[in-house]
């Protein structure tokens, strides 16, 4: 089977040459080991730089809104789920997007690898099928990719694009036998005090850089509640009260919308486990309203409809 990167390039070139799209959003080689970077290709000759590997971790759906041109987008399973959410929320028109779907084996969490190396710097990383060869000043280590995937990849049930206009390569086998909500259940089983402690431990690391919000394809409010000064909903400091409110309200605002792509987690420079809240809310929405965001274009989002039979036991 031809190389995925080559197939993406060929597809992109064809789309641009045939003027079926004006722009391709994909990935190119980054400047650091285990790092790819979003790129925007408008001329077919530039399509040569497009690549695909296990460090294409960003959710490119984040770049789709407010575009006038027709866009081709390289999208993993989770990215296509975000695109579906954006289409449902009328932020993107289906016909404006050409989805180059890429089945995904999971993306590498370089911070997990860095933690394993305990301070030894990776100078070179090569992906060879299921392994990554890491080279540093005076070491070479070979690690198995699947041991160092992002948390959201470990629990992902949508490795294959949900919608696409072209699929690159063959579909991959979906994760089997994993309990997507295993960690959430452990969290739920704890006492309220323990849960609060674990939540505050996480958000106390927050530096209010908003990388989580800005990386999220669905955080697109014209004015985010944290930025509003009239009225001011929240203080601007990194005190626990302010950071807690920020993370709680952001998480609630993704209820029934979050597709658990993990973009927030990946963007956070401080390693905050942001999914702790969003995944819990995702589970609640699934249990209460039988809805999972971004898995098809038809289901009506729970916040966009109501039903007299909706559960309301939580209203006391």
């Amino acid at each position: 089977m031809p190389d995925t990167s080559v197939m993406i390039r060929d597809t992109a070139k064809k789309l641009l040459v045939e003027k079926r799209v004006d722009l391709i959003i994909g990935f190119e080689r980054g400047t650091l080991p285990l790092r790819s970077t979003p790129c925007f290709v408008r001329r077919s000759v530039e399509a040569e730089k497009l690549i695909w590997n296990a460090s294409c971790e960003n959710n490119l759906a984040r770049y789709l809104r407010k575009r006038k041109e027709k866009v081709g987008i390289v999208a993993k399973g989770c990215d296509t789920r975000s695109i579906i959410s954006l289409i449902k929320e009328k932020q993107v028109a289906r016909e404006q997007v050409f989805i180059i779907g890429v089945p995904c084996h999971g993306m590498i969490d370089r911070r997990k690898i860095e933690a394993k190396l305990d301070g030894r710097e990776i100078l070179e990383a090569d992906e060879v099928s299921e392994k990554v060869i890491l080279k540093g000043h005076d070491f070479t280590e070979i690690v198995a990719k699947e041991e160092f995937l992002h948390n959201s990849c470990n629990t992902c049930n949508y490795r294959n694009p949900v919608i696409y206009d072209v699929l690159i390569g063959d579909k991959v086998e979906e994760n089997r036998g994993i309990d997507e909500y295993g960690e959430v259940k452990e969290f739920e089983a704890q006492s309220a005090d323990r849960r609060w402690q674990s939540f505050t431990n996480e958000v106390s690391k927050c530096i209010r850089c908003y990388a989580c919000r800005n990386a999220c394809p669905l955080c697109y409010c014209q004015e985010c509640f944290v930025d509003s000064s009239q009225p001011r909903w929240i203080g601007k400091t990194t005190n626990l009260s302010d950071t807690s409110i920020f993370h709680i309200v952001r998480a609630f605002h993704t209820a029934g919308r979050c597709v658990d792509c993990g973009a927030c987690d990946r963007a956070c420079p401080m390693g905050i486990d942001i999914r702790k809240l969003t995944k819990k809310i995702e589970k609640d929405v699934k249990e209460l309203f039988h809805y999972q965001a971004g898995v098809n274009l038809e289901d009506v989002p729970p916040l966009a409809t109501f039903n007299l039979g909706d559960p309301q036991e939580f209203i006391k």
């Binding site: 650091l32 984040r62 100078l123 209010r208 800005n214 930025d227 400091t237 990194t238 963007a267 401080m270």
Partner: protein, 340 residues
């Protein structure tokens, strides 16, 4: 420059003795990464590390800092200002790039035109003890900005790790006095000095990442309207990772944290990446999109700051390179500017 030495196995007890007299900040490992924190025992200090996740600038310029508190009562408005009664401080184990960032911050907060009492009160009480970098990271490009893995700028003392001991260079008069006062510092032999020279030389060679920054300002002088900015920002998320983790970024906002009739006026970090940063009361924003904001970050660091302070507001620490969620690498940006 006067050199002394201190044995590595004496360092912890030396730090312990400092803690009784000074508020000592040192790199420690927390939540899996390195940060500068006040230490209460010498053994907490991390001696082998690349660099801290957050720059130590926050010791002198905290992310949120109370400027004063106020209360509206029966007798009118009462204002309480900070007393600045903190102990003398030592920042131990800072890297030379971050020490150099203090020179830049000094020029902002303690200049001819502006004296920031909050910064100065802490800065004047601070002794800076840097540890040079025997093994710089691949993202370090300090030598491109006039620094180096053993550059003394901004430090009072600079430690050079020569395996079993540190050679200690007194950089400032304050540093010299400190060395005299503490008997842990011993006379250094020529052998150690020659080891020191070789460590410094080797480290310099290890900095492989270079950008010709000398020409950048000239290019930027005429680039405000360049189409370059139209695409540079395209992948930027407009978050504040690069600015908040930058040791030289110093923009701030002022806000009131009030409840009923009392409150605090707080200074907090702000970032040119945020849409609110230049939003005016009229509703007009002179930097309405990511394009203008990305341009501002580069222009401020490599043009406006050079115009005003005769140096770039970048020390080449590489934090923004390592932590940018979309790998928007400042070295690539600078090289692209050079190629315009």
């Amino acid at each position: 420059m006067k050199e002394m030495k201190i044995a590595k196995n004496e360092l912890v007890s030396f730090l312990d003795s400092l803690i009784s007299e000074y508020k000592v900040f040192a790199p420690v490992k927390r939540d899996g990464f390195v940060v500068f924190q006040e230490i209460y025992s010498g053994s907490e200090a991390l001696l082998v590390y690349a660099n801290s996740k957050k720059p130590p600038k926050e010791i002198l310029f905290p992310q949120s800092e109370v400027l004063f508190t106020y209360r509206l009562g029966g007798e009118g408005l009462g204002i309480e200002e900070p007393t600045f009664k903190d102990k003398q401080m030592v920042i131990f184990g800072i890297r030379p790039c971050d020490a150099k960032s203090l020179v830049i911050l000094d020029d902002i907060f303690n200049s001819q035109v502006y004296k920031d009492v909050y910064y100065i009160a802490k800065r004047e009480k601070t002794l800076v003890i840097a540890i040079g970098c025997n093994r710089p990271s691949s993202t370090c490009f300090c030598t491109s900005l006039g620094g180096g893995p053993f550059s003394p700028d901004g430090s009072d003392l600079l430690l050079v790790d020569i395996d079993h001991e540190y050679v200690v260079q007194a950089v400032t008069e304050k540093g010299k006095q400190f060395l005299k006062k503490h008997s842990e510092f011993k006379k250094v032999e020529e052998h150690s000095l020659s080891l020191m020279r070789s460590v410094i030389e080797t480290a310099g060679v290890l900095i492989k990442s270079k950008v010709e920054t000398g020409e950048i300002k000239k290019k930027l002088d005429v680039m405000f309207d360049d189409p370059f900015w139209d695409w540079l920002h395209e992948k930027c998320l407009d978050c504040a990772v690069c600015t908040y983790l930058c040791p030289t970024c110093h923009c701030f906002d002022i806000t009131d944290e009030a409840l009923d009739q009392r409150g605090e006026r707080v200074r907090i970090w702000d970032s040119c990446a945020f849409p609110m940063f230049t939003l005016e009361a009229s509703g007009v924003n002179p930097r309405p999109t990511s394009k203008e904001r990305t341009r501002q970050r580069i222009m401020h660091k490599f043009k406006y700051f050079v115009d005003n302070h005769d140096m770039a507001a970048c020390v080449g620490c590489g934090r923004c390179i390592k932590e940018c969620p979309v790998n928007l690498d400042i070295r690539t940006v600078l090289n692209s500017i050079l190629n315009r």
